[in-house]
C-alpha cells in the first residue's frame, strides 16, 4: 500500500488490499478443488508455500519495477497497453498472498480440532503486525521493509519443515535467506510516476532531494532548486521578486513550501487573497488549522499577530521546520508569538477553550482544482460540524477564513460557500450576505465569514484591498455586478449566478439540480472532495467525452472500477471454482450466506471504527493501527476461547445475537461517548478506546472458528469452501464499505454490519440443520 502510494497514488491502496484478500480467497478455492492431493502432500507443502510466499514478497518490488510490469496510472488513459502491465503488477502482488494463504488454509483444515488456537495465532499475529509496521516505518525506507518482513514467512517455513527433507531444505532455506538479505541491502529504487509532483519538480534546474525520511505518515522528501518559488495566486500588482523556497513532498505529492519568515517582512504574502481577513481589521489572536509547513503562519507573523496557534498533526513536519529546515524558514516555528500544537485540527477544536480573532484553513483544493484525487479522503475539517466548532472559538468580531482555487467546472468554491451558508443557517442567521465576504483573484477565491454582520469600516477596507491588489469582490453587501469583474473577468459568468443561488432561499433545489455534488459535507459523510454524481456521468460524457470524464473525478471512479473488477475476479477465482467441488446437499448456500455475512460484517465494523477513532485520537495513522491491532488481537482471544465453547445451535445464535445487540447499541452510543470523552487525557482515551473496540471484536472472533468446526463435523469439504467464501466476502466488502460510506454515510455502514450478523444468526439455524442432515445422510 505504502509503495503504491509513493509510486502512483493512494487509490492503489484499495487495489493492494483487494489483491491481498483475493489471494486468500483464491487459495481457499484452490484447496477446495484439490483438497485430497494437497492434504496428502501437506507436510512439505505447508512450509514450502510459506517459503515461496516469502521469496515472492521480497522480490515483488524488484519485479514490479521491470519494464514488462511497470505501469503509470495516468498513462493508462493515454496508452491502453499499460493495462497489460497493470495486470502483471496485480499478479506479482497476488502470488505472495496466494501462497501464504495456501499454507494457512491447509493448516486450518488439517488441524481443524485446534481451529480456535490457530485462528487466535493468525489474528494476534496480524494485530501485532499492525503495531510492528508503525515501528518499521519509522526506521526503514519502504523498499527495505518488504525484504525485512519476508524473513518471517521464511523462518516460519524453517520451523514447519519435516525432518526427512532436512538436507534439501537447508539448501533452499539458506538460499532464500540470502535472496532476502540481498534485496534488503540492495533494494530496488522506487520509480515514481513521471506525472507526480515530485517527479516534475526534480526536472527543474539543479533540483535535488535534500532530505528523505520514512514515517507512519508516509515518505517525506524535501527538494531544493534555485528556480523553485512559491506564491499561490499572487496578485498581478506584485512587482518584486518572488523568493526561492524549498518544497516538501509526502509520498511524492506536494505537501507545502518552506518559506522564509524574513523577520515578518515577507511582502508577497500580503499580495494574495488569503490576506483578506488582515486587510479587514487587525488580528491579535490567530488560530491556523492544518498549518503544514507554515505559509499561513508566516502570513500571520507578517501581519504582527500577537498570539498565533498553529495546529499540525504531522509531527515529522513540525520537527523538520523546528530543526533541519529552521534556517530555511528563518526559524519560523521558533517565533516568540507562536504556539505549535501537534494534534489533528478537529480534535484540537473539540478540546480547546480559547477564542480567536481569526481562524484560517489552508486551500481546500490543490493547484488547478485537482481531479478528485482526494474524493475518498475523510476531511473532517471541512464539514458543517467542523465549521460549527470553529464558530464556537471566535471572539464576537472574529472571522473564519477559507480559500480555494477556482476550479472548472465550478465545484470547490461552491461547496465551501454551501458549507458556510449551512452553518450560518444552523446559527439562525438568514441574511447570509451581511456575514460573508468573498474576494477573487485571477485564479483563487477567499471567503471570510463572521457571526456578527460585517461593519461599514470592514466593507470599505475590503474594497480598498481589492482595488490595490487588482482583486474583485464576489460577495459583499451592496455589491454591483460590474464590481465582480473589474479586474478579473470570466468567460463563464454563471459562476456568479451559482454563488447567488446558494445565498438564496432555494439553495436545496440548486444542490439537487447542479451537475456536481456541492451539498455540504458532515461528520457522517466527511467527503468534501467527492463531487461526482452518478446521474451526471452522462452529462460529463457529453461535454468532455467519456475518455476524459475520469480526469475530472478520477478518485471515486478508480474505486468503482476496482470494485467492479474485484467482484468479477472474486467470482471467477473464488466462487465459480467452488461450484465444481463434489459437495452434496444444501450446505453450499447456507455456508455461502453464513461465512459471507460474517466476512462482510467484520470488515464493515473495522472500517467504521477506524473512521470514528480518527477524530478521537486526532491521527489517522495511530487510529488505524490501534483499531486494526486491537480488533485482531481481541478477536484472536475470542477465537481462542471459542474452542472451549460447545458448537451448539443455541450458543451460535447467542453469540451472533450479542454482536447484533452491541452493534445496534454502538450505532446510537458510540459517537456521543467519543464526543464526551475526547478532551480526556491521552492514556485514559486509549483505555476507553480499547474497551470500546474490545467488546465487539472479542465476540466477532467467535463465529468463524465455531462455524468451521460445525461444518467440518458435517462435511470436511465445506471447510475450504467456507474459507474461500469468507475471503471473497472480505475482498468485496473492503471496497463496498467505501462506496456505502460515501453514498449513505457511516450510520448506514454500522447498520449493515449489524444486519450481517443478524443474517448470520438466522443462517446459524439452517446451517446447523443442513450440516446435521448432511451428517445423517
Amino acid at each position: 500500500m505504502h509503495i503504491f502510494s509513493i509510486t502512483q497514488w493512494y487509490h492503489f491502496a484499495f487495489m493492494v488490499i483487494s489483491v491481498a484478500l483475493l489471494g486468500f480467497g483464491a487459495a481457499g478455492s484452490f484447496i477446495a478443488l484439490f483438497k485430497n492431493r494437497l492434504i496428502a502432500n501437506a507436510p512439505w507443502l505447508i512450509p514450502f508455500s510459506m517459503l515461496i510466499s516469502g521469496l515472492l514478497q521480497c522480490s515483488a518490488i524488484f519485479l514490479s519495477q521491470l519494464p514488462f510490469a511497470r505501469f503509470d496510472s495516468y498513462l493508462i488513459f493515454a496508452d491502453y497497453s499499460q493495462f497489460i502491465n497493470l495486470i502483471i503488477t496485480y499478479l506479482i502482488f497476488f502470488l505472495p498472498f496466494f501462497f501464504g494463504a495456501l499454507s494457512i488454509g491447509l493448516s486450518f483444515i488439517i488441524y481443524i480440532d485446534q481451529i480456535g488456537k490457530l485462528y487466535f495465532s493468525n489474528l494476534t499475529g496480524s494485530g501485532l503486525g499492525g503495531i510492528a509496521a508503525l515501528i518499521l516505518y519509522s526506521i526503514f525506507l519502504p523498499e527495505e521493509i518488504s525484504s525485512l518482513i519476508s524473513l518471517l514467512p521464511i523462518i516460519s517455513a524453517l520451523i514447519l519443515f519435516p525432518k526427512n527433507y532436512k538436507r534439501i531444505f537447508t539448501v533452499i532455506f539458506t538460499l532464500s535467506i540470502a535472496v532476502s538479505v540481498f534485496f534488503f541491502i540492495n533494494p530496488s529504487a522506487l520509480k515514481k510516476s513521471e506525472f507526480k509532483s515530485i517527479s516534475k519538480t526534480l526536472n527543474l534546474i539543479d533540483a535535488k532531494v535534500v532530505f528523505i525520511k520514512n514515517s507512519p505518515y508516509g515518505l517525506i522528501e524535501v527538494v531544493s532548486s534555485p528556480v523553485l518559488r512559491y506564491s499561490q495566486g499572487l496578485s498581478l500588482a506584485y512587482q518584486k521578486e518572488v523568493p526561492q523556497s524549498k518544497a516538501i513532498f509526502l509520498n511524492g505529492d506536494w505537501f507545502g513550501a518552506i518559506v522564509k519568515a524574513n523577520n515578518g517582512k515577507n511582502e508577497f504574502l500580503h499580495y494574495t487573497t488569503t490576506a483578506l481577513p488582515y486587510a479587514m481589521k487587525e488580528k491579535e489572536s490567530v488560530l491556523i488549522l492544518n498549518a503544514g509547513s507554515g505559509i499561513e503562519t508566516a502570513q500571520a507573523i507578517s501581519y504582527n499577530a500577537n498570539r498565533i496557534t498553529a495546529v499540525e498533526q504531522n509531527s515529522i513536519i513540525i520537527s523538520l521546520m523546528k530543526n533541519e529546515f529552521a534556517e530555511d524558514s528563518d526559524s519560523l516555528y521558533h517565533h516568540k508569538n507562536l504556539t505549535i500544537r501537534n494534534i489533528d485540527s478537529r480534535t484540537f477544536l473539540q478540546a480547546d477553550t480559547n477564542k480567536y480573532d481569526l481562524i484560517t484553513l489552508p486551500y481546500t483544493n490543490s493547484f488547478g482544482g485537482g481531479v478528485g484525487l482526494y474524493a475518498l479522503q475523510e476531511q473532517y475539517l471541512l464539514t458543517v460540524d467542523s465549521f460549527e466548532d470553529m464558530f464556537d472559538h471566535l471572539n464576537s468580531e472574529g472571522v473564519i477564513c477559507v480559500s480555494s482555487w477556482i476550479d472548472y467546472p465550478f465545484r470547490n468554491p461552491l461547496k465551501v460557500l454551501s458549507t458556510i451558508v449551512e452553518v450560518l443557517h444552523e446559527k439562525n442567521i438568514t441574511e447570509f450576505k451581511n456575514h460573508i465576504a468573498a474576494v477573487k483573484s485571477w485564479g483563487t477565491i477567499t471567503f471570510v465569514v463572521k457571526i456578527s454582520p460585517l461593519n461599514s469600516e470592514e466593507i470599505m477596507n475590503i474594497r480598498s484591498f481589492c482595488d490595490l491588489l487588482m482583486f474583485d469582490p464576489v460577495i459583499l453587501p451592496d455589491l454591483s455586478e460590474s464590481e465582480r469583474i473589474k479586474y478579473n473577468s470570466m468567460q463563464d459568468e454563471k459562476f456568479f449566478e451559482y454563488i447567488d443561488e446558494i445565498l438564496s432561499g432555494h439553495r436545496s433545489r440548486f444542490y439537487e439540480e447542479y451537475d456536481f455534488n456541492i451539498k455540504p459535507a458532515d461528520d457522517d459523510q466527511p467527503y468534501f472532495s467527492q463531487f461526482l454524481k452518478w446521474k451526471s456521468l452522462s452529462y460529463l460524457k457529453d461535454v468532455y467525452g467519456i475518455r476524459n470524464a475520469p480526469f475530472l473525478e478520477i478518485g471515486y471512479l478508480l474505486v468503482m472500477i476496482t470494485f467492479i473488477q474485484i467482484v468479477i475476479i472474486a467470482f471467477v477465482l473464488i466462487v465459480l471454482p467452488l461450484f465444481k467441488t463434489d459437495l452434496k446437499g444444501n450446505g453450499k448456500l447456507k455456508t455461502l450466506i453464513y461465512f459471507g455475512a460474517i466476512g462482510l460484517g467484520y470488515m464493515f465494523v473495522e472500517i467504521i471504527f477506524i473512521q470514528r477513532f480518527i477524530l478521537y485520537f486526532g491521527n489517522i495513522i495511530y487510529a488505524a493501527a490501534a483499531v486494526i491491532s486491537s480488533m485482531l488481537i481481541c478477536s484472536g482471544v475470542g477465537s481462542y476461547l471459542s474452542s472451549k465453547i460447545k458448537g451448539s445451535k443455541r450458543n451460535l445464535i447467542f453469540i451472533c445475537g450479542l454482536i447484533l445487540a452491541v452493534l445496534i447499541l454502538y450505532k446510537f452510543l458510540l459517537t456521543p461517548v467519543l464526543q464526551s470523552t475526547i478532551g480526556f487525557e491521552f492514556f485514559l482515551k486509549v483505555v476507553i478506546a480499547f474497551f470500546l473496540i474490545a467488546v465487539p471484536s472479542f465476540l466477532m472472533g467467535m463465529p468463524f472458528p465455531i462455524g468451521l468446526k460445525i461444518i467440518s463435523a458435517g462435511n470436511k469439504s465445506l471447510v475450504a469452501w467456507a474459507w474461500g467464501i469468507n475471503g471473497c466476502s472480505s475482498v468485496v466488502s473492503s471496497i463496498l464499505v467505501v462506496v456505502v460510506a460515501v453514498e449513505l454515510g457511516f450510520a448506514v455502514v454500522i447498520l449493515i454490519a449489524a444486519l450481517s450478523y443478524l443474517t448470520a444468526a438466522l443462517t446459524n439455524v439452517s446451517l446447523y440443520h443442513s450440516v446435521s442432515n448432511n451428517n445423517l445422510e
Binding site: P226, G368, M470
Partner: protein, 228 residues
C-alpha cells in the same frame, strides 16, 4: 518514351515528397480546430503546415494527430492540437510580431508561431527538452526560432518588450517579470492547471499600464461546451 519517363519521375517525386500524415493533419485541422470555431486563416494554415508527428516520441507518431495531449517525457506533454491553435489565434499574431514562449517542450507551438511571425523567442527549463527541441527546430529549418535553456520566470529581458507572450507550462502565479516585458497593448496567454488535469486558459492584457485578466475556457482533451 520521354513522356513515360516524365510520368515516372513525377510519380516518384510525389511519392518521395508524400508526407504520410498529410491527410491526418488535414482532418485534424478540419474536425478538431475549424469545427470548434477557430477561424483565423493564418493559424489554420500554419497548423496544416507544421508536421506535428515530428514533435512527438517515435512510438506515438501514429497518435500525433489525435484529439489529445501526448506525453513527451520528463512529465511534460505536447498540447492538444486545438489548444495550440486556440492560443495562437487569441494572441492575434501578425508577421511583424515578436513573441516570447515560456515552456518550449517539444517545440511544436514555437514552430506553429514561426510559420506566422518574424521572431519567436522560446525558453525551456528542462535541459534535455531544450536541447532536443532546439535540434529538432534547426533540422526542420526554422531559422527564426531562438531557444534558451533557462528559468522562464525571468523572461528574456534582452529581447523585451514582446507583442505577445505564450506560457505553455501551467503556473501557480504569473511571474512579475513577464508582465513587465509585455508591450503596452500586448497580450499574454497562460494555462492555469496541471497537464492531464483541467487547465484554465487565462488572457492577460496590458493597456495604459493597467493589467486585466480574463479566464477564458477550461481545456482538457477536448474544449468545453456547455451542455445545458
Amino acid at each position: 518514351m520521354h513522356i513515360l519517363t516524365l510520368i515516372l519521375i513525377l510519380c516518384l517525386s510525389a511519392f518521395l515528397q508524400e508526407d504520410p500524415y498529410v491527410r491526418d493533419r488535414e482532418r485534424m485541422v478540419r474536425t478538431q480546430i475549424e469545427m470548434r470555431g477557430i477561424k483565423d486563416q493564418v493559424t489554420l494554415s500554419s497548423m496544416k503546415k507544421v508536421q506535428r508527428h515530428l514533435f512527438v516520441p517515435k512510438d506515438l507518431r501514429d497518435n500525433a494527430y489525435d484529439d489529445r495531449p501526448l506525453p513527451i517525457g520528463y512529465g511534460q506533454t505536447i498540447s492538444q492540437p486545438f489548444i495550440v491553435a486556440y492560443m495562437t489565434e487569441i494572441i492575434r499574431p501578425d508577421k511583424n510580431s515578436k513573441m516570447l514562449e515560456i515552456g518550449t517542450g517539444s517545440g511544436y507551438q514555437a514552430a506553429v508561431l514561426a510559420e506566422i511571425i518574424s521572431d519567436v523567442y522560446t525558453i525551456e527549463i528542462i535541459t534535455e527538452l531544450s536541447n532536443s527541441s532546439a535540434k529538432r527546430l534547426k533540422e526542420l529549418g526554422y531559422k527564426n526560432v531562438y531557444v534558451k535553456n533557462a528559468d522562464g520566470y525571468y523572461g528574456w529581458k534582452e529581447h523585451a518588450p514582446f507583442d505577445a507572450i505564450i506560457v505553455t507550462a501551467a503556473s501557480e502565479y504569473i511571474p512579475p517579470p513577464l508582465i513587465e516585458q509585455l508591450k503596452d497593448g500586448g497580450r499574454m496567454i497562460i494555462p492555469v492547471g496541471s497537464p492531464f488535469q483541467t487547465q484554465m486558459l487565462m488572457l492577460i492584457e496590458k493597456k495604459d499600464g493597467k493589467v486585466t485578466t480574463k479566464s477564458l475556457m477550461p481545456v482538457m482533451f477536448v474544449p468545453f461546451k456547455r451542455g445545458k
